[in-house]
Symmetry: C2
Subunit: 262 residues, 2 copies
């Protein structure tokens, strides 16, 4: 995650809260269907004018496709545990989920909530049949989504000369609340957790343990212009200059000793 | 949640996914410290030009203050359960949390995760000492945040003639992930859950069980310009015309029979 320009001169790294200015979130339109080996940074930077401080948000699905992290259902031979867990679902899909899982957190009638090797807890360990290139294919999470983000970022900076940040995002369900929100699974060039500890509010109350998962908030904002059926797998958020940093999305994983729900 | 203009003529209610246009998120600057009885809609509409389809996001903290949902620590007499649960924390704060809770979900050394009467699962049942008007005060969630949102919305529409939506938001922690993200605890005039069931992706795969918690994504986006220490308790998101609707934030609560983590 080195910065090819040797610094972040254009970015303020002062961890202040509240930019007090408008943000914009812009979809990247006209991207083609992504194939293994495609240069996402080139495809994106050819379709949108980037500026210093922009956060380029890229859907995990296209990052995985570019990296060849795709598996055909008919190449999967389900193990006995996969068959046992599948319920009415395709045991080959369940086999893919088990291979991508470090641990199952909950399992109910073919619906699996798993912890991935990266530490993310999500449905099906991030294995997904929607928006695959062809029917019968499953798309897996990148091997190392933070490294994916760093590679895309370095290439974007090289191509454009602009110091941008990159998030790789996916749609995760949540405990207790319905619906998915997009969250960061990979990050480069950005503060992912904004720690307000020690800052004081307007009456002098010292904020304790207040840490904001800004990368997840950016990911969710980008989803609002991306859309799962519209084929828009990337967006650019502009106006967040105060969030320069070098966090990784895996920093968002709750450490096991502090996790009350795993 | 009636619409004073007798319809939403300016808004498309077609539940399409992906607006394919830019969004903006703008902080509402210059709001004064909020006191009981203050007219938030008047204060906000006097500081920002609203347009049809705008989503006005208001921090729960100021909604609660305007509604007088504030309690003084020294008015609280801690019950034996509050004393037992407090650990190193102030048992009077714990007493306030217990009074606001329908049920405790987890309790560890004064850190309580509770289900509120509305069904929200969050730290301290939403009871918060930060950004109170004076030290020694606790701010509680509104009695009915969806009704709060509807009242603010009706007043904004009456004052401006613009058909806007309103979200009331709070910062909630999550299972498995570090940091808080802002989520919707009250909503009016907006789709809160965008159901893509039956829609097809580009290769014809029918999306199953894909529901996006767009209200929570909007809430998180607004947090990025609001800021806990900067005293900016409101923001406006523009460009989401496809999300007109009449969802309530309580629709976001996972029904108990589908909740694997409660």
């Amino acid at each position: 995650m080195s910065d090819p320009r040797g610094g972040q001169a254009e970015l303020s790294s002062r961890p202040v809260d509240g930019p007090a200015r408008a943000l914009s979130v812009q979809p990247v339109l006209g991207l083609p269907e992504i194939r293994p080996g495609d240069d996402l940074a080139e495809l994106i930077s050819g379709r949108v004018e980037l500026d210093d401080g922009d956060v380029v948000v890229v859907a995990q699905k296209v990052v995985s496709k570019a990296e060849g992290r795709v598996i055909r259902l008919d190449a999967l031979d389900p193990s006995p545990p996969a068959v046992a867990l599948a319920g009415d679902h395709d045991p080959r899909s369940v086999e893919a989920v088990l291979r991508e899982s470090a641990r199952l957190v909950r399992a109910r009638a073919g619906f699996l909530i798993a912890e991935t090797r990266h530490g993310y807890v999500c449905a099906s360990a991030g294995v997904d049949a929607s928006n695959a290139t062809v029917l019968g294919e499953l798309v897996l999470l990148p091997e190392d989504p933070d490294a994916s983000a760093a590679r895309i970022r370095e290439r974007l900076v090289a191509l454009t000369g602009r110091v941008v940040a990159v998030l790789v995002t996916d749609s995760f369900g949540r405990a207790w609340r319905q619906g998915t929100t997009d969250v960061a699974v990979g990050a480069a060039g950005l503060t992912v957790l904004l720690d307000l500890k020690g800052e004081r509010d307007r009456v002098g109350y010292e904020l304790q343990g207040t840490t904001i998962a800004v990368a997840d908030e950016i990911a969710g904002a980008a989803e609002l212009v991306m859309g799962k059926t519209a084929g828009i797998p990337a967006a650019v958020m502009r106006g967040l200059r105060h969030l320069a940093g070098d966090g990784r999305a895996t920093d968002l994983v709750m450490p096991r000793d502090r996790d009350l729900f795993r």
